[in-house]
């Protein structure tokens, strides 16, 4: 049988991969099957078959990349205590995975009392979520729920009013360019983000 045995092993693995429904397992099996073919390509009479080795390498690379993506999509996400506290207020809009993506591009900061969170007349290049503390009464009218700058963010016009803290506030800030990049890649996340804005906007329209 000799080197032919590797063809049989590889094809049995390919056959098994076609029998499974789970894409992760299917990719693992085809990856191993691909590797099982390599000894055949090297040691077959007249070998090594460089073209076949080249294509095997391409297929395996694509498979490895997709496996890496799948692994990251599927692995359970553990939130830190701080993340859990923030997630509580956003859990009706975002899945844990979506939240962790937002967390990665956001920045938590603390602003002392009587400080400006948002200046009047500036370009709305950020959106801020109030996590703790309160804003001055005149500023509250320009907030949408706990979101600061949401309306200017939607209209893309210069901010109509400055927003000031009344006491020390904990905030989460997202930059527009970072959000735009993330939303381009993840439409589902953009839908969830929009739902959050819609909810805040609907409350404001009703008031």
């Amino acid at each position: 049988m000799g080197v032919q045995v590797f063809i049989h092993i590889a094809n049995l693995l390919f056959l098994s991969s076609y029998l499974v429904k789970d894409i992760f397992l299917l990719r693992i099996l085809t990856l191993i099957a691909g590797f099982s073919l390599l000894p055949y390509y090297f040691w077959v009479e007249g070998g090594p078959l460089t073209s076949s080795i080249f294509w095997s390498f391409i297929f395996s690379s694509v498979n490895l990349y997709q496996l890496y993506q799948l692994y990251h999509e599927r692995k359970p996400i553990r939130l830190s205590k701080e993340q859990q506290q923030v997630y509580q207020s956003l859990s009706s809009y975002f899945s844990v995975l979506q939240f962790s993506k937002l967390w990665q591009i956001g920045a938590i900061n603390t602003v002392a009392e009587n400080q400006f969170v948002l200046e009047k007349g500036c370009y709305p290049n950020q959106i801020i979520l109030l996590l703790e503390g309160s804003l001055s009464k005149s500023s509250q009218a320009f907030c949408t729920g706990n979101l600061i700058g949401a309306i200017d963010f939607i209209t893309q016009q210069r901010t109509q009013q400055a927003v000031q803290t009344e006491e020390t506030c904990k905030l989460m800030t997202w930059q527009r360019k970072d959000l735009d990049m993330l939303f381009k890649k993840d439409k589902g996340l953009y839908s969830s983000w929009q739902s959050m804005l819609s909810n805040a906007l609907a409350k404001q329209l009703a008031s």
Binding site: S191, Q194, L205
Partner: protein, 194 residues
């Protein structure tokens, strides 16, 4: 003219065109935006995989759009007796959506939506069909197969705030883009009222 622009007024012929409900009652399209802004989603016939694709995209956003005071209307082109099955299939009984139909295709024509057998049976459609079937969507002919759908957001004065003409059978407006326009519109209305 083959399309509408944002800010255009709905032409009289479209406003006066009729659709029918599941009991075969006639209704002028203009009544849709008489009491408030309306999002009109033109689907194809009620049994097609393109309609399913469009509904799967918009259904999760219905409550959200309704909360922003936008009335949602679906217009198909099949017989009125197919409306009931469509409602059941997409569980629209308790949803803030009204469904009508226009088997004459007059409303579609006046809304300047595409009608093409070439598209309906072209290679893109076959590709879309394979994708749709892989997702488990069925396809039963319940109306004009060549008629493509579209989306129309109209304010109470009959001004077009968003317009989209579906390019292929399974192509439809991106719900995120629709909601973007609704946000803009809701804020315009709010500043008007203030």
């Amino acid at each position: 003219m083959s399309s509408f622009n944002i800010g255009d007024k709905i032409p009289k012929d479209l406003a006066n065109a009729s659709v029918i409900d599941e009991n075969s009652n006639n209704l002028k399209l203009a009544t849709f935006w008489k009491e408030g802004p309306a999002l009109i989603l033109f689907i194809r016939h009620f049994g097609c995989f393109g309609c399913t694709t469009q509904m799967q995209a918009i259904a999760p956003r219905i409550q959200e759009i309704d909360a922003l005071n936008i009335r949602i209307y679906l217009v198909g082109n099949g017989n009125p007796n197919f409306i009931e099955g469509f409602k059941e299939r997409f569980q629209l009984y308790n949803q803030p959506v009204k469904i009508y139909t226009d088997p004459s295709l007059e409303v579609y024509k006046k809304a300047r939506l595409t009608r093409s057998k070439l598209i309906a049976y072209g290679p893109t459609t076959w590709y879309e069909r394979v994708i749709a079937f892989s997702k488990g969507y069925s396809n039963v002919n319940q109306g004009d197969n060549g008629q493509m759908g579209g989306s129309l957001l109209v304010d109470q004065e009959g001004t077009i705030k968003y317009y989209y003409k579906n390019k292929t059978v399974a192509n439809h407006s991106d719900p995120n883009t629709v909601v973007e326009h609704i946000h803009q519109f809701a804020l315009q209305q709010k500043s008007k009222n203030n």
